[in-house]
């Protein structure tokens, strides 16, 4: 057996069913072995599409995503996706070919120091020097990727190692003496946390992406205690977006209720999140009344990294919540809820209607038409925030977006990965005209595998989020953000790929467009030409605090002090 076959055997032993990738010279032995393997391969048109698809596959399914690429340029095209997966704690294994061992370090054709390049953007990486190490390395890589704080692991395999005769064993003993994630929370700290919550007058339960797998425990804990719940962008869906205890998303484009709740909270229970600056704003002014911050996270390095924590609980959010549930009591929060209710009803998410078609109403229309039952993916920009605001998801693993890295172009490949992982689900990619054009070649992948994905492009003819910042903070000097003069006809573009195209330009055609998208039997690219000058509000300016929240454009300004 050759190394390449041993690799695939090892992947099969990990239960891998699908691999995304793109072949090339230095990984050809693996692709040759793939020809006879039961592992399904999804051929993408660019490695970046592959790594994003594998990321979404992982996030939609809860399993480890796998992507393959050749050496040098192929492997380097994974860089953005690996960084994205690291930032959003996604379990991923990337397998790359490399030049033969004898050529490593000689600037050989298609050679790049991929383990060196990816060191800061992977949880761990390997350069396999001995063919007999392959099963151990694969076992370790999957274990590292999926346990503790999940993350991407890269395995770089020289071509001659792929071709070498394998004489080793698949019964492997991992060699990871330095890797022992703590999963069970410390009972004393859990006790302290419950105690603090019991004494709290204005407590808040704040949930991040690290609690997607703990949705059941979370719901039980919130319902038992009656705590108000807010979910970060990465936490959307971990708690049902239609639940009366839910206040929405906090942070830069969060709801008034969620941000005010944090601002006035005396005790914050933060679960599976890392206090990103888009959530906290200026850290020194974050949650100024919170005398107790309880932080539950599996990664000890996240605790105290940005925000001072009073009760640190290192552990798996699911196990910790399960323990907390044992001691949880209904809390007396009637007065607090009166305040929260007031903020929620006075400042719901809304938009000021214009004669033109608007992104928010498009998203809202899809939400109503689907009853919110869809897996939503997004690109990055205004449309992403509108989707987060106006398409509240009710189930975990149903809102797939690039949180930490803010990677434009993930929408379509994320939708591909999600559809491959959960083919029975309706998958909608809300995309921007800017974002979509970063990876649009993956339309070919949709066609090749007949993946029924609905791409909804909210075309405002601008890099809308940049334009919004220029509008508010750069004296409306719209430097290099105008796209409308050179955008393609998206419907025609889709048709060129053999994908059904839909175009909606007027408000009155909105419902017809939504129905056309949802009624189509296969993939669709629908372009909705939306109001160009729209802004995402509420907004807390970068580096600001909850008190600086603006809920409407300054021209129509209504500021909401916390």
């Amino acid at each position: 057996m050759k190394g390449a076959e041993a690799l695939l055997r090892a992947l099969e032993r990990e239960g891998v069913e699908v691999v995304f990738g793109h072949p090339g010279g230095a990984i050809m032995p693996v692709y040759d072995a793939l020809y006879d393997s039961r592992i399904r391969h999804i051929l993408v048109r660019h490695e970046q599409g592959g790594v994003h698809a594998a990321t979404a596959y992982a996030r939609a399914s809860g399993r480890v995503g796998v992507v393959m690429a050749t050496s040098g340029p192929g492997a380097l095209n994974l860089v953005t996706g690996l960084a994205d997966a690291l930032m959003d704690s996604t379990p991923l294994v990337a397998i790359t070919g490399n030049v033969p061992r004898a050529l490593i370090g000689t600037d050989a054709f298609q050679e790049a120091d991929v383990t060196g390049v990816t060191m800061p953007i992977t949880k761990h990486n390997y350069l396999v020097q001995d063919v007999n190490d392959l099963p151990r390395v694969v076992r370790e890589a999957f274990h590292i990727a999926a346990t503790g704080r999940p993350g991407p692991v890269l395995i770089d395999i020289p071509k001659d190692v792929q071709l070498a005769e394998f004489t080793g064993s698949f019964e492997v003993v991992p060699d990871l003496p330095g890797y022992k994630p703590t999963t069970k929370g410390h009972p004393k700290q859990i006790e302290r946390a419950l105690d603090a919550l019991e004494k709290a007058e204005r407590p808040v339960l704040m949930v991040g992406g690290g609690a997607q797998h703990a949705h059941g425990e979370l719901l039980a804990f919130a319902e038992r205690t009656g705590l108000p719940v807010i979910t970060t962008l990465m936490g959307l869906g971990a708690f049902p977006g239609n639940h009366p205890l839910w206040l929405g998303m906090p942070g830069m484009h969060g709801t008034v209720a969620a941000n005010r709740a944090l601002h006035h909270a005396d005790v914050i229970l933060a679960v599976g999140l890392r206090f990103d600056d888009r959530v906290t704003g200026k850290v020194a002014r974050f949650a100024p009344h919170a005398h107790t911050i309880i932080h539950v996270d599996i990664d000890p390095a996240e605790i105290g990294k940005l925000v001072r924590t009073h009760v640190p609980i290192v552990g798996d959010s699911r196990l910790v919540l399960r323990e907390m549930l044992k001691g949880a009591k209904p809390l007396r929060l009637a007065a607090w809820w009166r305040e929260l209710e007031e903020w929620r009803t006075r400042h719901p998410l809304r938009w000021r209607p214009k004669p033109h078609l608007q992104s928010q109403e498009v998203i809202r229309a899809f939400h109503e038409a689907t009853g919110g039952r869809a897996i939503v993916t997004t690109g990055v920009g205004q449309h992403q925030m509108f989707a987060a605001q106006f398409f509240p998801v009710t189930r975990p693993r149903s809102f797939l977006t690039s949180g930490g890295l803010g990677t434009m172009g993930v929408g379509l490949p994320f939708a591909i990965g999600a559809k491959v992982a959960r083919p029975e689900e309706l998958v909608i990619d809300f995309d921007g005209d800017g974002s979509f054009q970063m990876t649009l070649q993956e339309l070919a992948t949709l066609v090749k595998y007949r993946l029924d994905v609905k791409v909804v492009i909210l075309n405002n003819g601008y890099l809308g989020m940049v334009r919004q910042w220029q509008d508010l903070f750069h004296a409306r000097r719209y430097s290099e953000v105008y796209l409308a003069d050179s955008n393609p006809d998206f419907a025609k573009l889709a048709e060129a790929y053999g994908v059904q195209g839909v175009k909606v330009e007027r408000k009155e055609d909105l419902m017809r467009g939504v129905e056309a998208v949802l009624a189509a039997s296969g993939p669709v690219v629908a372009e909705f030409k939306v109001y160009q000058e729209e802004g995402v509000f509420p907004m807390i300016p970068a580096g600001g605090a909850a008190e600086d929240m603006i809920i409407e454009h300054p021209a129509e300004r209504e500021e909401v002090g916390a």
């Binding site: 800061p120 370790e140 492997v172 060699d175 003496p177 330095g178 990664d299 390095a301």
Partner: protein, 170 residues
């Protein structure tokens, strides 16, 4: 504040790269780094001299611990022995200087490890402060070359950085 940290690692290729890369990427201030093998095959020990406030140091330790190949991290706050090795090549013009340098050598209990017509190589071990003063004392004679290893440290008494080797099938 200055801290000396010992790190026990698996001596895989690039593990040093991971550690220095971590310091560079996160903006931690690394003053010196010394590495060597241990009595356990496959394990190396690294001594790092780092400066920063308590919060930074806490992050340094936690981020080091996140590295898969790092087994243990200790910030030597407790009583410990700290040593650095220094080789210094000093210019000696004539007999008078030679004698003066010899006085300094004796005062610091340094050793002469190479003698040439117009230069000497001296070897000194000690903590960083002692080496600093030694070099200061030699400076007037003309230092030609200095090589310092960076500090290494070990806790006093029973405390060790030992790990039990245990492998479990995963």
């Amino acid at each position: 504040m200055r801290h000396i940290i010992s790190v026990l690692v698996q001596d895989h290729p690039r593990v040093l790269n991971r550690i220095t890369g971590l310091f560079a990427r996160r903006g931690f201030n690394l003053e010196s780094l010394a590495v060597g093998t241990t009595h356990v095959p496959g394990l190396s020990r690294i001594s790092l001299v780092v400066s920063g406030d308590d919060r930074t140091l806490e992050q340094v330790e936690k981020q080091l611990n996140r590295l898969i190949e790092v087994l243990k991290v200790t910030d030597h706050a407790e009583p410990h022995v700290e040593r650095e090795l220094c080789l210094v090549k000093v210019h000696v013009a004539g007999v008078e200087e030679r004698l003066a340098v010899k006085d300094i050598q004796e005062a610091f209990r340094a050793r002469v490890v190479d003698v040439a017509q117009r230069s000497l190589i001296l070897e000194l071990t000690g903590d960083s402060g002692k080496i600093d003063s030694f070099l200061e004392a030699l400076r007037p004679y003309g230092i030609l070359e200095v090589m310092r290893t960076g500090a290494v440290a070990m806790s006093r008494g029973e405390r060790t950085l030992k790990v039990r080797e245990k492998r479990e099938a995963v």
